[in-house]
């Protein structure tokens, strides 16, 4: 539960910071009059909403990672079924695609801020293209692993790989739907200012999914027995 504990500790820290802003030590029964709400966030509701959603989605992925690591460290169950999945080389390429996708959306975000509609459109198309290529690449990785005998029912390590990459892919598909809706607005001739918030939300979501992928990819690499340092993560998991 170490990954989950770390993630929830971070969420709790944000909540604690926010609570402190709410003047929770005041004595409201002594205060009359229309006082301002010092702690109310000035961000748009949609952005706060996305933040809350990312906390939920983050918890979800942290739980998957925790389950993955807990299962990995149950020695009484490990022989002979836990066979760590070797990370296919294409995953490096896929990682690059997702980085570019995220970068393209960041570019679109900057263009929207500078009110350049053409830049926004280009960023959206490139970002979506790289995201679709990433998804296709993940499917190829599935095929390669399947061909190498690491199919879903082969052992729990393989099952975790399919599960986590699958859930990540579904999240990306959901993001693409939102991106599509934003793109539709952009092509309808809406101004860059009006679309700015949507683009920002998409870009933040993309960065989040990139981060999730990097964490999982890192986990895979560190637990791949054919690579040096594979014992490190197991050691840390064991300690925690």
């Amino acid at each position: 539960m170490s990954v989950l504990a770390l993630f929830l500790a971070a969420v709790m820290a944000v909540i604690a910071w926010w609570l402190v802003q709410q003047r929770i030590t005041t004595k409201p029964w002594l205060e009359t009059g229309p006082i301002g709400d010092a702690g109310a966030p000035s961000l748009p509701a949609a952005k706060i909403g996305l933040g809350v959603f990312l906390a939920v989605a983050g918890t979800l992925f942290a739980l998957f990672f925790s389950a993955f690591m807990m299962r990995m460290n149950m020695p009484e169950l490990n022989a002979p079924e836990w066979k760590p999945v070797p990370a296919p080389a294409i995953l490096w390429f896929n990682t690059g695609l997702l980085v570019f996708s995220s970068g393209a959306l960041q570019w679109a975000r900057a263009a929207a801020r500078r009110r350049r509609v053409e830049g926004v459109k280009a960023g959206l198309v490139v970002g979506a293209g790289f995201a679709l290529a990433f998804l296709a690449g993940q499917l190829i990785a599935w095929q390669q692993l399947n061909a190498a005998g690491y199919y879903l029912t082969a052992n729990p390590a393989a099952a975790f790989f399919y599960l986590i990459t699958g859930i990540h892919g579904v999240h990306l598909l959901g993001g693409l739907a939102a991106l599509g809706a934003a793109a539709e607005k952009a092509w309808q001739g809406i101004t860059a200012k009006e679309i700015q918030l949507r683009i920002e939300l998409c870009a933040i979501y993309w960065h989040f999914l990139l981060l999730v992928w990097l964490v999982f990819f890192g986990l895979l690499l560190f637990t791949d027995p054919s690579r040096p340092g594979s014992g490190l993560i197991s050691f840390i998991c064991g300690m925690l």
């Binding site: 539960m1 929830l8 709410q22 009359t32 109310a40 966030p41 909403g49 739980l63 389950a67 099952a159």
Partner: protein, 589 residues
């Protein structure tokens, strides 16, 4: 004497007054409606409808326990299906949905002074996904093999193995339904949280919020962080069942046949399930805590004692509830050091909880107590919650839990603390807010009859059940048969409990009759029949119109508990009453 008065220019609202969604047809006004008040009623009616199914199931369970073998329709398989469905419906589809989807949707926008939730469309979707989840759950009664009989905890490996009722379809529908429920709840939960954060009207600081909102808000945050664990567990078990993966399934030899599973960990499921399961107790309890605080303060005409402590206690309970899940797993073979940790953290939760109980009692102390029906239910809650909480101290200790685990004592404990206690608050809340929702009062006499039968009947059911647990009567057994250590008198006690359960269940007809009858014939309520301070009672129309507030949003000048302020003309000062006039004074320093 120190008096603090914060006058000055009214700051701008945190969010600009948004343009409201307006229904264009009957369908979008009453069916696919985006108004939180309508969604609240949809949630509540659906939850109560499915709750009635669970009530009937509990009758059947009790009939089997009291008169084993008498009713031919209750086979062992059917019995396990009854207990599974009863538990899951009550915890998830009734209580969670009713407190957060029902009370949350109705009260949050009104109490914080907003026109609606911040994302009304997503809010509407939330209800329809919830309804779909309920329908899928109900559908499991109509598939071959019927619903799952794996127990409400759905523990693998037995949940998906042949021999468990509903193994073919029931478990698939149950897991799918739970996944949908969580998706639907997340949509609603985003609304509840962001509306509290962003939708508050001018002057409504967090520390001026009624405790009802604090309770629902904290429970929602808790649920948003805890439900993903159930989601993960359901997805993984669904893959084990449908695609043959082995997340939770170890190598199994069944009836001489080696199954294809190997290498999974059933304990991993238990961790995931209880990482959700324990916060779930507080997802149900925190809204109840909040609502009861407001009921007691209003009906005792006294400000809530220790408001700040109440808020801090809610937050502390919410945080602590994430580190106690292991106390559900003492007998899973965990490391004894973990048992020590979880027992300690469990007992620590008693501290903020006790603070709340003391504060409720001190609010009542020398209050001008009106024994209205909502107040009766609120006091009934306090007593019941204390009773259930005390048996929780027994079960929180590893050494006491081990012999009591899987006995009727556990059943009695959790029914008192998270069954009866929150349901008493649900009733109290409905009797309290029904006049705002419909414009008419519920019938008082029927309400009192309903309260006394329900309250005394619940004790007739669960007090003896503790004793059954002490003498070792196990839970989950289809029938006891002849057991050396269980005296024959246990059977007589079981009959007594069943008769009480049948009466309590039937008494709920009074409540539902009252709901319907009063809707047409009840006494007109006026806008603020309880003379309460919080904003929902200050709306220009009753029931509140679309947009809640007419042209201008209310401005908040004081906290939610200005009752019986010395020198005031009336014994309550609404939150939106301007600050001229009396105010509380700090005690001499």
């Amino acid at each position: 004497m120190v008096e603090i008065r914060v006058d000055g220019a009214i700051p701008a609202a945190e969010v600009p007054d948004v343009e409201l969604y307006h229904a264009k047809s009957w369908i979008t006004k009453y069916v696919f409606c985006q108004d939180a008040k309508v969604i609240a009623i949809q949630y509540s009616l659906t939850a109560m409808g499915i709750g009635l199914v669970a009530l009937v199931l509990s009758w059947l369970i009790r009939l089997q326990l009291a008169f084993p073998g008498t009713l031919s329709l209750i086979s062992p398989e059917a019995y396990y299906q009854f207990i599974t469905m009863h538990g899951m419906i009550m915890v998830i589809y009734l209580l969670t949905a009713l407190f957060l989807g029902g009370f949350g949707n109705y009260l949050i926008p009104l109490m914080v002074g907003a026109r609606d939730m911040v994302f009304p469309y997503v809010n509407m979707l939330s209800y329809w996904v919830y309804l779909l989840a309920v329908l899928i759950l109900v559908a499991s009664y109509f598939v071959p093999g019927g619903p799952t009989g794996a127990g409400w905890t759905l523990y693998p490996p037995q949940a998906i193995l042949a021999g468990t009722p509903g193994r073919d379809w029931g478990i698939i529908l149950m897991l799918s339904s739970l996944i949908l429920f969580i998706i639907g709840f997340t949509m609603g939960g985003l609304n509840y949280v962001v509306t509290v954060l962003q939708g508050r009207t001018r002057g409504m600081t967090m520390m001026r919020l009624p405790l009802t909102v604090w309770g629902i808000f904290s429970a929602t945050v808790l649920a948003l962080l805890a439900f993903p664990a159930l989601f993960v567990a359901c997805v993984m078990m669904l893959l084990d069942r449908l695609l043959g993966s082995s997340f939770f399934m170890p190598a199994i030899v069944q009836a001489g046949e080696h199954l294809s599973y190997e290498g999974g960990s059933p304990i991993l499921f238990q961790h995931l399930f209880w990482f959700f399961g324990h916060p779930e107790v507080y997802i149900v309890a925190l809204p109840a805590f909040g609502i009861v605080s407001d009921l007691i303060s209003t009906h005792a005409r006294k400000n809530i004692f220790g408001y700040r402590m109440m808020v801090w206690a809610i937050v502390a309970i919410a945080v602590l509830s994430f580190i106690v899940w292991g106390h559900h797993m003492y007998i899973s073979g965990m490391n004894p050091m973990f048992g020590f940790f979880f027992a300690t953290s469990t007992l620590i939760i008693a501290v903020p909880t006790a603070i709340k109980v003391y504060n409720w009692v001190l609010t009542l102390w020398r209050g001008n107590i009106h024994l209205t029906v909502p107040m009766l239910f609120a006091i009934g809650f306090i007593v019941t919650f204390v009773n259930g909480g005390i048996t929780g101290l027994f079960l929180g200790n590893v050494i006491v839990d081990v012999p009591l685990s899987a006995t009727m004592f556990v059943v009695a404990h959790f029914h008192m603390v998270m069954g009866i206690a929150p349901i008493l608050v649900v009733f109290g809340g409905i009797y309290h807010w029904y006049p705002k929702i419909t414009g008419r009062m519920l019938n008082d006499t029927l309400g009192r009859i309903h309260f006394w039968i329900t309250f005394l009947g619940a004790y007739a059911i669960y007090f003896p059940m503790h004793y059954l647990g002490f003498i070792g009567v196990p839970r989950r057994y289809y029938e006891l048969g002849e057991t050396a250590f269980v005296p024959p008198s246990a059977a007589a006690l079981n009959v007594f409990i069943t008769v009480a359960a049948l009466i309590v269940g039937a008494a709920q007809i009074i409540f539902f009759f009252n709901l319907v009858w009063s809707f047409y014939k009840g006494k007109l309520a006026g806008s603020n029949p309880w003379r309460a301070t919080t904003l929902e009672w200050q709306t220009p129309e009753t029931p509140p119109g679309h947009g809640n507030w007419g042209k201008e949003l209310p401005v908040v000048y004081r906290w939610a508990y200005d009752y019986s302020v010395p020198g005031a003309e009336q014994d309550f000062l609404p939150q939106n009453q301007p600050s001229k006039g009396p105010s509380r004074q700090a005690a001499p320093v």
